[in-house]
Symmetry: C2
Subunit: 488 residues, 2 copies
């Protein structure tokens, strides 16, 4: 700073102080006037100069306006369509189209075959009855059968209800992932056993006896059965002691897709917690059914003709109309499946790890959303596909791609097979996540996390109903094509 | 604490430490297993035990869902009614029903009569030409004429457009409040002059010369015309120098209802600020017109028959449907009137006090809302009605009541006179604020400020359209009664 500038600044500061002084005097003089003056120089709150930024009341405003809009839509809907909610319909949905041979029930019972086959191969491998090469081959065929048997059966055989076919596909997808995990973990154990030498085993048993000693000290201090001791009862299971049908079935029912030999256990079943979760599951499914019956079915039916005729304005209006009940249904579904149902099962099975979902609602880009909304699948993909591939020497991008295609395949599988409509909208929807991921990360970096979060929510709210309408449209064209043609 | 309890606590603490130790050992042992264990005891985020409470993403969700719902309504509306927006219509609205004699224009020009009469009386009072008793009597008659002349003229004379009559009523209401303030302030000054002795006048002139000296010091330091000096140019006006037509008309056009002899002045007109406010006024009025044409008129027309037939479900649906465009229109109206328009006028007149509204959107009860949303009126009521009444010895509650009735009367006046429909819905709406005020303060105290704020918003969003529909219904029944009867 030059001397000149310095002088200038000093002069400005002096005159600013003087100005403040004058303002104070002016204020005093004005106050002393007999006209009770009530004005002073001020900016409006909306002006930038005011520096005011407390608009929290508008958050309440948004939620209130949302509720009022929702209430209005509900009333309009009841006026237009009457009461279409019918809780008894669950029963018809389950059995509707189901033939007297109960193919769904039979296909669900069939799961015993691949499960036992898998256990038998593992047993044989553990005692080196079959070579690892042959074992792997049989495992692969077994896993492929888990995917293909329901697919072919549902396609070839008549008499599956839509609900039955969906259940079968979901159950067999989960079974596939669980058996994959089971096989891989047991392989890791076998590899460790082969590599192990006396030294490492001794070290391990030392640490185990440490644990035993600590537990005994605790028991002396405190006779009551404590959580931390209970969960260690009987010590840790070692390979191959885990290879029994009881352990395998515990894993198959447990709310996780990742096998391990010693799951963390909770010491007791909290009865009130259990009752609340059970009530949530029952009430939640009824609410979803009501939303579908009263709101979605009329909207989807109305959207059919605009989509066929490619009337874009009308189709967009229908899409947005469908988006909101669909999104609400998805939110309720998320809650009852990932919170109520998985916690219910976990509580019943004393399964202590309830980390089924992260805070995806705060996700600032699509990647974070996919990493947090479904933690069982995310953890499976990381542990059993991504990391093994990276360990095998593949690049991280290649591994990510494989995980992505895998996920896209299962999305497609669980939609196309029950509908018998082999279009690729679900697969395309998943593929669409790739450019969306780039876009959302760009938005997050360029315009801040808030806008990134809005992009994530938009894709959730708009993406799904678009796919649903595509499938519904194609399903109707395929199965009732001529009837629609008459309407046009 | 007894020795026994002490021992127990120590034992528990010891066992807790031991338990932690065991957990740490257990974790270490589990990690050393070959099965790459990935589970550990955790609660779900929605469980109370997890202590998780970051749901900020849902705020974005609410605003997004609101936007999507709005977009959908917009599309539905255009599909149903086509484009009804017509910017040219402003012209027809202004002149529609206006006879060739231009009664609105004549009535607006008539304001000169009470203004000049008021000034003449004040002049006479200041030089003690008339006694204060006679002066007050003439002032009262003059003020009553300001209210009654437009009321009677509009009622008796045909040829006023709805827009013209509304403008006249608004202008004369404002004129009434401004003249009241002008008369009262001048009265204060006269009283002060009568009571004053030489001593106080000398004291005052001393502080004035102080100010003059300070200003001169500043000028020496800083040659540029500074805001604080400019606003003091010419010193402070003293009674009765203010009694001239120029000063009175400055007050009549200034964006305030409270007269004072020396308004705070801004030193320059910011051209970009001015242009932005002018654009906002033009664009905002067009948006309001568009909302009314495209959204409100069809909704109100549709609501007529349900309200007449007292079909409650349908009427509620219509009310909620009307509530949202009406509320949006009100928000835009608030912004262009209280921010854009008053700032525009203030900037043009170098009027420095732009405090036209508080942060009513954060109001936690109805009272705070009424105190903050319209500061010119609130300040007038406090300075010219409430405080004078309290000074005269009335209780605070009595003074509040009078302010309230006064306000309710003007609400009714500005609606009923232009519509020529002397129902009391606006008056009742204001009266309804009393129990609502009790209720909202109770809710705020009992359930916290957030719910209080929601009550305030609800009353804003729902209360107004209810009154509008009542008036529209009665207006139609009175003016087109037989036509409606045919529809039923």
């Amino acid at each position: 700073m030059t001397e000149n500038e310095n002088q200038y600044v000093r002069k400005r500061a002096l005159s600013a102080t003087k100005a403040e002084e004058i303002q104070a005097v002016e204020k005093k003089v004005r106050k002393s006037q007999p006209d009770k003056s009530c004005h002073r120089p001020r900016d409006s709150l909306f002006s930038w100069n005011s520096g005011f930024d407390n608009f929290t009341g508008f958050v309440n405003w948004a939620f209130l306006l949302l509720s009022i809009g929702g209430l209005r839509l509900l009333l309009e809907n009841f006026i237009k369509y009457g009461v279409r909610v019918d809780p008894i319909q669950w029963f018809y949905i389950i059995v509707n189209g189901e033939s007297a041979e109960f193919p769904t029930l039979i296909l669900l019972l069939y799961h015993i075959v691949p499960v036992f086959l898998c256990l038998i191969i593992e047993k044989s491998l553990s005692v080196e009855l079959v070579s690892s090469g042959i074992g792997l081959l049989v495992h692969i065929f077994n896993l492929l059968s888990v995917i293909l048997v329901p697919m072919i059966t549902i396609h070839v055989k008549e008499g599956f209800s839509l609900f039955g076919a969906s259940t079968v596909c979901t159950v067999y997808s989960v079974l596939f992932l669980k058996l994959w995990s089971y096989i891989q973990v047991n392989m890791w154990c076998r590899t460790a056993r082969q590599k192990s030498n006396r030294g490492t085993i001794r070290r391990q048993s030392v640490s185990l006896s440490n644990l035993q000693r600590a537990k005994e000290t605790l028991k002396k201090h405190n006779n009551s059965a404590d959580s931390s001791t209970e969960s260690l009862n009987g010590g840790l299971v070692q390979y191959p002691d885990n290879l029994n049908i009881r352990d395998l079935y515990y894993f198959l029912f447990a709310p996780t897709l990742c096998y391990e030999l010693n799951f963390p256990r909770s010491e007791r079943i909290r009865k009130r917690f259990l009752l609340r979760r059970a009530f949530e599951v029952l009430a939640g499914t009824q609410i979803i059914l009501a939303v579908i019956q009263q709101w979605m079915i009329p909207s989807v039916k109305n959207s059919l003709v605009p989509f066929s005729n490619m009337d874009y304005t009308l189709a967009t209006e229908r899409l947005l109309k469908l988006a909101i009940p669909n999104h609400l249904g998805w939110l309720i579904m998320f809650y009852i499946l990932f919170h109520s149902w998985l916690n219910l099962v976990g509580e019943l099975l004393h399964f202590a790890d309830r980390n089924f979902y992260g805070d995806w609602w705060n996700a600032n880009n699509i990647d974070v959303f996919w990493r947090t909304w479904n933690l069982p699948v995310h953890r499976w993909a990381l542990r059993h596909l991504y990391l093994p591939m990276v360990d095998m020497g593949y690049g991280r991008n290649a591994a990510s791609m494989v995980v992505f295609f895998f996920s896209a395949f299962f999305h497609e599988y669980m939609v196309s097979v029950p509908l018998k409509t082999y279009k690729i909208w679900a697969f395309m929807g998943m593929m669409g996540q790739l450019p969306l991921s780039f876009f959302s990360r760009f938005v997050e970096k360029r315009y801040g996390p808030r806008l990134g979060n809005i992009i994530v929510w938009s894709s959730i709210i708009i993406g799904q109903p678009l796919c649903i309408m595509m499938y519904y449209h194609d399903y109707m064209v395929i199965h009732h094509g001529t009837t629609i043609a008459q309407y046009q």
